[in-house]
């Protein structure tokens, strides 16, 4: 087991390197950079930036160096000093902008994941055990619907309902008075009051797919021979259900959690933009539009790291749950 964990953790390292490289290259390779963008904007206003000034600016920002050198200095900064570079757009070190946003992203993603579990697991079990019941049909249909509605559309629709019927503007993660306020009990409760809507929006498609996964797997498990064997021992139906089929169906569920988490983090970007959440999404778009390269690269990097770590956790959880993995690979 120990060596399995170790090996799994070591596997993460190349993944992280690849992720950081991709994050950087996606931003840096396409033609045009931040200075071009500034010059363009200046040109729109009518004053032409002299070439020398453009070049000087490039040098100042280090944009004249070869890509790999830029990458190297950026990534060593990140790893060694926790320095994510400088945001041209904000005129601030990236890390000052990025951390609070990332924190909220993590909180929102985890809350959504929790929502998925709390809602989907019982429904999935119910649907499998009461297969072809009215309830099962309803949940199955809702599941399909949940997968078919783009989450930004769901966000829009819910916001519209809240706005048109309850007169509430439910965007954002905080009420206006708390946005700039330091952390405290008041801000915390305010966050909780705002969190549920994006949580539901982000969790919907995950919930739908988890219900389907659990239902499908559990239906397979319900008639496995070991269930008959346990029943023949005299075990009661509910205890039986929980100890054998449900427990067995947990494995594919856990290994699927990774994809769900990726989807939540990934979908969170768009929902955040639509709902004006103070998470990474809106800033990422802004940074990309402005070609604020360190900012954008850092966001993509940190989101990817979040996912890679999530994958690691779900793999470890799976190994902990499934002795076959534990003993055969460890």
């Amino acid at each position: 087991m120990g060596s399995f964990i170790l090996r799994r953790i070591i596997y993460v390292i190349p993944a992280l390197i690849a992720v950081s490289l991709i994050s950087f290259l996606v931003i840096a390779v396409p033609p045009g950079d931040f200075v071009d963008r500034l010059a363009e904007e200046a040109a729109k206003k009518g004053d032409i930036m002299p070439l020398a000034e453009i070049e000087a600016m490039r040098r100042a920002y280090g944009l004249d160096q070869p890509l790999l050198v830029q990458y190297w200095s950026w990534i060593t900064g990140v790893v060694l000093r926790g320095d994510f570079g400088y945001s041209f757009g904000w005129n601030l070190p990236v890390k000052e902008v990025i951390w609070p946003r990332l924190g909220l992203t993590v909180v929102l993603s985890l809350a959504s994941l929790l929502f998925v579990w709390v809602v989907a697991i019982p429904i999935g079990i119910y649907s499998a055990v009461r297969r072809y019941s009215v309830g099962d049909y309803i949940f199955t249909f809702l599941g399909f619907l949940g997968l078919a509605v783009p989450n930004f559309l769901l966000a829009l629709a819910l916001m519209y309902v809240a706005f048109a019927w309850f007169g509430q503007d439910v965007g954002g993660l905080f009420s206006p008075e708390y946005i700039e306020a330091p952390w405290g009990w008041g801000k915390f409760t305010d966050l909780m009051a705002h969190l549920w809507l994006p949580m539901v929006v982000l969790g919907t498609s995950g919930t739908a797919s988890v219900i389907r996964v659990i239902r499908a797997n559990l239906i397979d498990e319900l008639h496995k021979p070991y269930v008959t064997a346990a029943r023949a021992k005299g075990k009661g139906e509910f205890a039986l259900l929980m100890k054998y089929p449900v427990r067995h169906a947990m494995n594919p569920f856990v290994s699927g959690q990774n994809d769900i988490f990726v989807d939540i983090v990934s979908g969170g970007t768009i929902v955040a933009i639509v709902m004006g959440l103070q998470t990474t999404g809106p800033l990422l778009i802004k940074a990309l539009m402005e070609q604020d390269m360190y900012m954008a690269a850092s966001f993509i990097l940190m989101l990817s790291v979040l996912v890679v770590v999530g994958t690691l956790l779900s793999d470890l959880l799976l190994a902990w749950l499934d002795p076959r993995i534990r003993y055969q690979q460890g």
């Binding site: 993944a15 690849a18 992720v19 991709i22 994050s23 996606v26 931003i27 390779v29 396409p30 033609p31 045009g32 399909f144 619907l145 997968l147 078919a148 509605v149 783009p150 930004f152 559309l153 829009l156 629709a157 916001m159 519209y160 706005f163 048109a164 503007d169 965007g171 990774n258 994809d259 990726v262 983090v265 990934s266 979908g267 970007t269 768009i270 933009i273 990422l284 778009i285 990309l288 539009m289 954008a296 966001f299 993509i300 989101l303 990817s304 979040l306 996912v307 890679v308 994958t311």
Partner: protein, 381 residues
């Protein structure tokens, strides 16, 4: 009466009937099993209709894309009436009512109400604005529309420029439905190539490709898509944007297909009937195309139909954010751009109607894919 054919051990005529006489091939069995999946069939019909719409939007839409009329900005959907009641009783006469407008000086917006006095007749196969069917056949007939050209006809309402949302949604199908198809086609090529190589060579090659797939699958797609989409130069022609977006979607989309292909390849390689074919002396090409591919083609088709919805959703999201397709291209995502904030939506909720098209298309594709997946292996009972 049931009897035994003693020499052969064949059971009885009745049983043979149940087994479809044994004369049905793979695809016939797949088809029969698919037909039993009622939601799948329903989904299939809707998908088929959607692609028909995508093929001839000009004919189906009452007006063309160019049509606009600022006088009807944000006009709400008109109610369709099937007939009128006159002294002679009820009479079949499909029509909508024209609008009455008042300007609300507080908000500065026009308020539209239906004018029951003025009737705009709806006709079928009416002559309307001219267009070119399939891009080259000049035509002017529309499936339906106002009998008199130019009368306000907004059964899905109008947008900010007084354009007909119904017509635009119909045109949107052309892009939205095909971008999924193209994206999946591109992914499929990548997936079959990479998955096939992985499954065929095995060993280190397979290992490297598997790690690569795992890695690509663990990258959060949307931020990366956003990053890539934002890198598309702003000033290139729309058609190129369309292709760029397709490519971006398939960059991450090939992995699941590659997995399916590889898995099937590996499993198939060890099937006894493939071994038997090797012993018959079939070369690799014959084995792949005569024995292996037909066996998992149905699985691939099912996987493909399940992959298209993801592409449609992604395109919609990117376009909505303004970094995907842009006007003058009309896709459902582009149409949804009109619904940028809650206040706009609150005053013109019909702007979300193209979203309903997305939901229906995705639902139908999922149903279809589910049905195909169940039918892909008609031998398992």
């Amino acid at each position: 009466m049931t009897t035994f054919d003693e020499t052969s051990g064949m059971v009885s005529p009745a049983q043979e009937k149940r087994r479809g006489q044994g004369f049905e091939g793979h695809w016939a069995l797949v088809w029969r099993k698919f037909l039993r999946h009622r939601l799948g069939v329903l989904g299939g019909i809707i998908v088929l209709l959607a692609y028909v719409v995508a093929a001839i939007p000009d004919f189906l839409a009452p007006v063309t894309l160019e049509a606009y009329n600022p006088a009807y900005a944000y006009a709400p959907p008109q109610q369709v009436h099937l007939g009128v009641s006159t002294e002679d009783g009820w009479q079949f006469r499909p029509h909508v009512n024209a609008y009455k407008t008042v300007v609300d000086y507080n908000s500065g917006r026009r308020i539209f109400t239906a004018d029951p006095e003025s009737i705009i007749d709806i006709g079928f196969f009416v002559v309307g604005e001219p267009y070119k069917l399939f891009g080259f056949i000049p035509a002017a007939r529309h499936l339906f529309g106002p009998v008199e050209v130019g009368q306000p006809f907004y059964i899905f309402g109008a947008d900010r420029l007084g354009r007909d949302i119904l017509s635009r949604t119909i045109y949107g199908a052309r892009i939205s439905m095909t971008i999924g198809l193209l994206g999946v086609a591109a992914s499929l090529v990548l997936g079959i190539l990479i998955g096939g190589v992985s499954g065929l060579f095995g060993g280190v090659v397979d290992n490297v490709i598997q790690r690569l797939i795992e890695f690509v699958q663990s990258v959060p797609a949307i931020p990366l898509w956003i990053g890539l989409a934002a890198a598309i130069p702003r000033d290139i022609p729309p058609l190129q944007v369309y292709f760029f977006i397709t490519i971006i979607l398939s960059v991450l989309g090939w992995t699941s297909l590659a997995r399916v292909v590889r898995g099937r390849f590996l499993a198939m390689r060890n099937e006894d009937f493939v071994k038997a074919a090797r012993l018959d002396g079939c070369g690799p090409v014959r084995i792949i195309f005569r024995h292996m591919l037909p066996s998992f083609l149905s699985h691939i088709i099912a996987t493909v139909s399940l992959a298209i919805p993801g592409m449609i959703l992604a395109e919609t999201a990117l376009s909505y954010l303004g970094i995907g397709l842009r006007t003058p291209i009309v896709s459902w995502g582009v149409l949804l751009q009109e619904a940028q904030n809650v206040r706009t939506i609150a005053s013109a909720p019909w702007l979300l109607l193209p979203g309903v098209a997305v939901v229906i298309a995705v639902l139908a594709l999922n149903f279809l894919g589910d049905g195909l997946r169940d039918a892909a292996d008609p031998y398992a009972d």
